[in-house]
Each structure stands twice: as structure tokens, then as C-alpha cells.
Amino acid sequence: MSDSQATAAAAHGHGAYMEESPYAIPSRKLTMWLFIISDAVTFGAVLMAYGYLRVASSDWPTPFKFTPSILNVMIMTFVLITSSLTMLGAVDSAKLGDKAKTSRFLWSTVLLGAIFAGLHIREWLGMIGEGVRLFQNPWGSSLFGATFFCITGLHLLHVFCGIIAIIVVARKFANGSLTAGHVETTGLYWHFVDLVWMFVVPLIYLTNIQH
């Protein structure tokens, strides 16, 4: 086995003996991309279903005021985009082999993710306090609560999963059992969570502002 084959085998597993990866990326990264695509279709389905309900209902509620809801969502957006930046810092630091810096960036991302989740729960509690339930609300179409809680809840679930994944990767990268490639793959997932939020905010919140 040549040196290049040995390197390829180490990077890509035994499949490398048979053929090169067509995308020149490790299989774990390609798997994460495929997961992201399937997850994008899931979010696409729920957001499109929401869109049809929203447009078809004549009494769709528009309950979001600047304070507290929209201000809260603005802070959440800032926090999530900033967490993507710290994740990028972690990925690049890991590639440079700077474990201390990687660790700092990863834990910063965890902290920002936790702040986002906390603000999200505060938003939910505010809505519940105003009488919004899955199939009833004081304002109009009974499906408003179902779509609001399902879509934002699905996104929040992804945030929780991301926080847990980053904690695991941060600990294992620090003790040397995971590599920079694992940090990068986790980063892809976290950026996807950020990307989905860019569609959730306009569709769920900004088209339902109380003018």
C-alpha cells in the first residue's frame, strides 16, 4: 500500500482502497451534509404547510408586538448569529491545533446556545401566559398555536441537540479522543440551526406583527 493510499485509508476508511471520494471530503462530513439536506426538507415541509394555513385563514392572528416578542426575537437572532461566529472560531482553532482556544470558542458557543434556548423558553412562557395553547388562542385561527409551537419547538429541539453535541465534542476534543474534523462536522450542524432560524423569524414572527 502506497503512502497516499495509507493516508486516504486513514481519512476515509477501507472504501478508499476501491475508489476516491468524489467530493474529496471525509465520509463523516458527507454524512452530515446529507443529514442537513434531509433536515432542510423536513423544515421546508413544516414551513410550507404553515404558509398555506397562514394564507388560507382569514382570521390568522397577528399578535407579536415590538415588546416583548419582537425585541426578544431580535436578541435571539443576534445571539444565534454570534454563536455561529464562535463556532467558526472553534473550527479554525481546532484545525490550527490550538486546543485551549478551541475549547474557549466551543464553550462560548454552548453559552450562547443556552442563552438562545433560555430566551426561546421565555417567549413560549409569554405566549402561554397570553392564553395560546396548541389548538386555541384568544385571537383567531385555532391552528396558530399548533404551527407556532411545532415549528419553533422543532427548532428549539435542534438547538438543545446542538448544545449537547458541542458539550460532548468540547470535552472529547480537549482530552484528545476527537479530532478537528469532528469539531468541523459539529460546526456544520450548528450553522444549519442558524440557517433555519433565518427562515423561522420572517415567516413565524415578522409576518405576524401587530401593526
Binding site: W33, A49, I70, G89, D92, H191, M198, V201, P202, H211
Partner: protein
């Protein structure tokens, strides 16, 4: 006395995209309070969301640095599936009422 090598600022190269994403988000919030027509607002906001998503995909998820084959295998197919799903949703809504949309 030799100084310790300074660690590079790894996030500096991403700052322009970061500020651009924050700016787009800011514009979205601004226009949401300015435009009252739901159709116009939805079209504009979706346009901004697609721009933000493209920036995140290309620069934060490094798709711009990968082989073109990865981009062309993933993104057009995903957009096609999402568009087709959009067609199916409208059809399922029509079938729910067992009649075509009113003209």
C-alpha cells in the same frame, strides 16, 4: 527574551459576513414594521432569508471552499425537492376541500 508566537485571530476573516448577516436581519426587522401588505412583506422577507441562507451556506459552512461537485449534488436537488413539495401542498389543500381553488 523571545516572545511567544501570537495566535492568529481566527474569526477576523468571517467578520464581514457576520456583520452582513446582522445587517440583513436588521433590515428584515425594519421592513416588517414598515410594510403592511402581507404578500409584499412575505416576498421581501423570503428574499432576504434566501440571501442570508446563501451567505451562511457558502461562507460559514464553507461550501464555497469545497469541490463544485458537492454544491451541485446537494443544493439544486434540495431546491427542486422543496419546489415540488410546494406544488404537492397546494394540491393536498385543494383535495381537502374536494374542489379547486376559487377563481
Amino acid at each position: 527574551m523571545a516572545l511567544a508566537p501570537k495566535s492568529p485571530n481566527v474569526i477576523a476573516k468571517y467578520l464581514p459576513i457576520y456583520f452582513l448577516l446582522l445587517a440583513i436581519a436588521g433590515i428584515e426587522f425594519f421592513v416588517a414594521f414598515r410594510i403592511t401588505s402581507t404578500t409584499a412583506l412575505l416576498t421581501l422577507l423570503l428574499g432576504f432569508a434566501v440571501c442570508s441562507a446563501a451567505l451562511a451556506l457558502l461562507f460559514f459552512m464553507h461550501l464555497v471552499e469545497e469541490r463544485r461537485a458537492l454544491f451541485f449534488s446537494l443544493i439544486p436537488a434540495t431546491i427542486f425537492v422543496l419546489l415540488m413539495m410546494n406544488m404537492i401542498w397546494s394540491d393536498s389543500y385543494r383535495l381537502l376541500r374536494m374542489k379547486p381553488f376559487p377563481h
